[in-house]
Amino acid sequence: MTRNRIQWGVLDFVVVAFALIPVLWLVSLSLKTPATIADGGFIPTEWTFDNYVNVFTDGGFLRPLVNSIGIAGLATLIAIVLGTFAAYAIARLNFPGRSIMLGAALLVAMFPQVSLVTPLFNIERALGLFNTWPGLILPYVTFALPLTIYTMSTFFREIPWELEKAAKMDGASSFQAFRKVIVPLATPGVVTAAVLAFIQSWNDFLFAISLTSTERSRTAPAAISYFTGSSQFEDPTGSVSAAAVIVTIPIVIFVLIFQRRIVSGLTAGAVKG
């Protein structure tokens, strides 16, 4: 038994190291001074927080960060509202086109995003959506929808039918029964789907660099890839690392808080769907 425990302990340690070393490396880089940034060491010899100050003062990272929060947040909100409607219908109602809807969602989930870049680039330029918030929100909502529909319809299926029937018996309409009985019960599922949708939108890079051209709507991941340092002689490594750590913080917080739900959401959405 003791041997067994040690064996698993070693394996656990390997897993934790595998997951964390690349992240810790970025944290380490972001804390190095300009003089020591190229020393190649895993642990900084001289510590500084200047890189974090610099990305906001000289780097102009604030605007992309605000864009990222706004765009990913709004996209998540819209996807959740629309996804909740569709998932409820798919899980609870009998209507023609239910399987078409699920098939369409699966198709969009498997869609190669790059296939949309060319047409969207041109369509958005023609419609004046290029380099605007809605220009990114639209594709983000579309790609978050399959995930939210699959995750939430799995959750909805597990909610007891009888409660809704009872509410209707007491005189509630279908919509009232949905809003007052099902929605509160489904909140954990909604939160799960929201976290997954937010992570997905927050992560996007391809649309972010193809459909934006200036600070006006460029998101954080795209902005990081354009960092050049405050002067042409300066190496951007420190700023990139600091900005990279900053965009990682919300994800780490989400993972810490919603760990169980993320796991159940991902596996439910993918395997049972």
Binding site: G40, A105, P112, V117, T118, L120, N122, L206, S225, T248
Partner: protein, 293 residues
Amino acid sequence: MSTDVKAAERRLGLWLCAPAAIFMILVAGWPILYSIWLSFNRYDLRFPQDQQWVGLENYQTVLTNEFWWTAFGVTVLITVVSVAIELVLGMGLAIVMHRTLVGRGLIRTVVLIPYGIVTVVAAFGWFYAWTPGTGWLAALLPDGSAPLTQQWPAILIIIGAEVWKTTPFMALLLLAGLALVPDELSRAAAMDGAGRWKRFVSITLPLMRPAIAVALLFRTLDAFRIYDNIYILTNGAQNTGSVSIITYTNLVSGLNLGIGSTMSVLIFITVAIIAFIFVTVFKTGTPGTEGRR
């Protein structure tokens, strides 16, 4: 009354699905049709007045171009190798998460970090780690080596970055499959004298077949559209570009919508073929396929 209720239910169902459906049609359906139409046109934004229907000319241009085939080969290679490694690593990770005695919650939380982290951010981590002088991994290599400037080492690094980022996702899907395998079966087999490996191959794997199939399909399609990692690590230099990278380059740097659309359509067709193969192969059933991987 029941027909009324049914009709009302049907109407409500359609109304509730409509907004999501409209989004998917407008943002995914319409552009892909437009893309197909564009792919039959000569359409270069630098010479917009030259837009003209050219039939299959773009397809001929792309399909006889060695850059396209190099990128296609690189994409297939990265997809096959990284998904294969992920399947093995992900299975190991799933078993550790399923069976571990110490700190299970901690393990599951930590494993989710690579899944959640922004790909571009992770890619920068790997980029700096392999940059000579700056990087701790580059420091382990012989002096004077610059792996990211050579084709094969760079492709290996791209595969490594992809594997790190997406193995947790694979592991979670496999973990869900593992949870469906009843413990009694395994215990009964142990009673009959089957060793660990034998039990894994002849009981666990066959029962996990559906989960493995889904995980492989999702990851293969996802790996095939690899973009972020390559963009940061090499930006496609030294023939390390994927099909997504060269499509993007043709569009944004080249402003060539005709060729860009043609590549988009070809990628779309390839993805459809991959999905079709998966669905038919795993439905018709080829016992033992999973075990050999």
